[in-house]
Symmetry: none
Amino acid sequence: MAEPRREITAECLCIGDELLIGQTLNTNAAWMGEQLGLIGIRPVLTRVVGDHPDRILEALRTSTADVVLMTGGLGPTKDDITKHMLCTFFGTRLVRRPEVEARIVELFTRMGRAPGDVMEVNRAQADLPEDCTVVPNLRGTASGMWFERAGRVFVSMPGVPYEMTGMMVRDVLPMLRDRFEPPVIVHRTVLTTGLGESQLAERIAGWEDALAADGIKLAYLPSPGLVKLRLSAYANADGTAARAQVDRRVQALYGLIPELIYGEGEERLEQVIGRLLKAKGQTLTLAESCTGGFLSHLVTSIPGSSAYYIGGVVSYANAVKMEELGIPSDMLELNGAVSQPVVERMASGVREALKSDWAIATSGVAGPDGGTPDKPVGTVWLAVAGPDGVRSSKGVFMGTRDLIIQRSATAGLNMLRKRLLSG
Amino acid sequence: MAEPRREITAECLCIGDELLIGQTLNTNAAWMGEQLGLIGIRPVLTRVVGDHPDRILEALRTSTADVVLMTGGLGPTKDDITKHMLCTFFGTRLVRRPEVEARIVELFTRMGRAPGDVMEVNRAQADLPEDCTVVPNLRGTASGMWFERAGRVFVSMPGVPYEMTGMMVRDVLPMLRDRFEPPVIVHRTVLTTGLGESQLAERIAGWEDALAADGIKLAYLPSPGLVKLRLSAYANADGTAARAQVDRRVQALYGLIPELIYGEGEERLEQVIGRLLKAKGQTLTLAESCTGGFLSHLVTSIPGSSAYYIGGVVSYANAVKMEELGIPSDMLELNGAVSQPVVERMASGVREALKSDWAIATSGVAGPDGGTPDKPVGTVWLAVAGPDGVRSSKGVFMGTRDLIIQRSATAGLNMLRKRLLSG
């Protein structure tokens, strides 16, 4: 492995009382830390301070990292003071930027406001420090600010995650890469589902041990129902040798656990399903009981899903299971709603009623109430109906109501994925 | 307002590379911040540093808060170095605590290990700094450590949330209260929907300005479709005067923006809907197009929602709108799916088909594609059908596909809330 150049360090400085008092979870710092790592900059410190002049100034004065990424305190209200503190710290003053003001007015008129009705408090968001580089915000009214001092970079961005991430991806990350030319890191992320973290680690232990010889690091990134495996290695000048080594190891992993890998990179299981269905020109419907619409939400969160998703029925009450999905009342009485015959009938029922090639059905006990000794909370029946018939399986998922819903949905999507691949 | 005693400040110092690189979300800091606030200790700083000696020592040396709550780095492996750094910082040394070792051995034997088989690496977790007070861990093997120096308190706890929270609730929070007798803070959070942050601020500017006279602080906490307003004030000895002042100001706010307030505290809009429906003994169904099941997911994320939620139809394809919801094909052809007549018919259609008192329907362009000059991305028609007929309204929402879906769902729930209250 090529020896990396001097390490570039970064601090995330997040401003906002809501973060300190636990009203808002600091997802920004986690996301920024991950993105910095991906371009070879090392996050060494995260600080959260309140919307308080002395605290913000003290944090700026005691920062030492090469890169300081700030979020928060850029809103139009009185408690948003970040840009004033930046002026104090850098010894500069606010000036109104006409091009930024024009964009703000345009944003408001697009939402139906007359230009004359755009309030001064909103226009004042175009008042920005005189010697900063403005980082455009295409998703809101608070601009980003880029400062350079003594070889170090300070970037101030809004605290709204959607606005901050847009700004980072479009401008800040490329600008940081140009400015510091950090050592290139080669990454590849393999997405798995079907085994928990420790079982997966046991299964691939031999493969994992051999990675060190190539200078490849492995990270396990678990989330409900999934484990991502990220391989990373410092690249030589052109990156090709490290890339080839990582690729070779990933190839070996495909040989080792083919049934557990569903994709790579940032791809989501519902995207994989969409890709497979589109390739086959086939369609999907859903019949949801315990997942309550969450499975449908996952499928429709993918842009363009209307090409293969017909629709679904959330059959919370038994009456809906009977009338919309054609489940006989004696089947419900005999087996209960959380049962193999019912879930299979739900899948074939919705497939016939809404006319699709494939259908997924879920029926289970999401809790916290409703469990029995026979069917404890977390018991979930899943079925997939398709051109070659209906198949089902039972899972018992751990965790809160939210987690049981998420894990059921993931398991249902994965059942369909396997059917689509085997067919 | 009674003059508060000197404010007691706190810092959360979280140790762990996994937090810096974004592998783990820092839920510990958020939870500790909230708990500290509730006992009247003010969190002023959160820091996250890696498992690195210099970084940990530097953080300890530069800390200034009265209380420093540390998490992480207490495990049995080599990269867990927190207690060694605490010894360096406090000039003390590790000594084995026999009572702690006995508890560790007992924990392992309870899990089926023979006492003789408990490894030295695990027993070594009973090596703790000589002059700390041990905080027992009933949920794991890593003990907490409580130090006092020059009137300040340092507490080191494990990073596993389940272990940390157990320790905090059972011992650390009561010990902090005894040690500092912090001033009580009175909070009340009012939940609003219908206006964005800046429009809301403009609307209540006069009310906001008057809060200072009572020593009440106001925070705006926006999230997609909602703005929370949190009032807080220091209490006098018994808390009643400050409580009364906060209550009086909240009462005035209800008079000022009655139509925008949907609840208080941690309540979610879908909980409010559930509460109102249960009180009336009425039921709900949903017909979703652009929200694609997300509205149904919100409703069913509330435990016990099966008491009032019958079910729903996700009518993504027009065929489902026609066959399941009875929308005439010429109505779809004439107006398009994203239109007032169609969304009203969806609401009454699902209300009749699934037999409920109320129904919400959504039809819009969630994007990123599918917008037209006439109906740009973000155009959403919403309808609520009820015993007294169907009403509808159009919104144009900003943001990504996800945000448009979230904002549409919030707006739909809020329409129903108003109907339930006016009926």
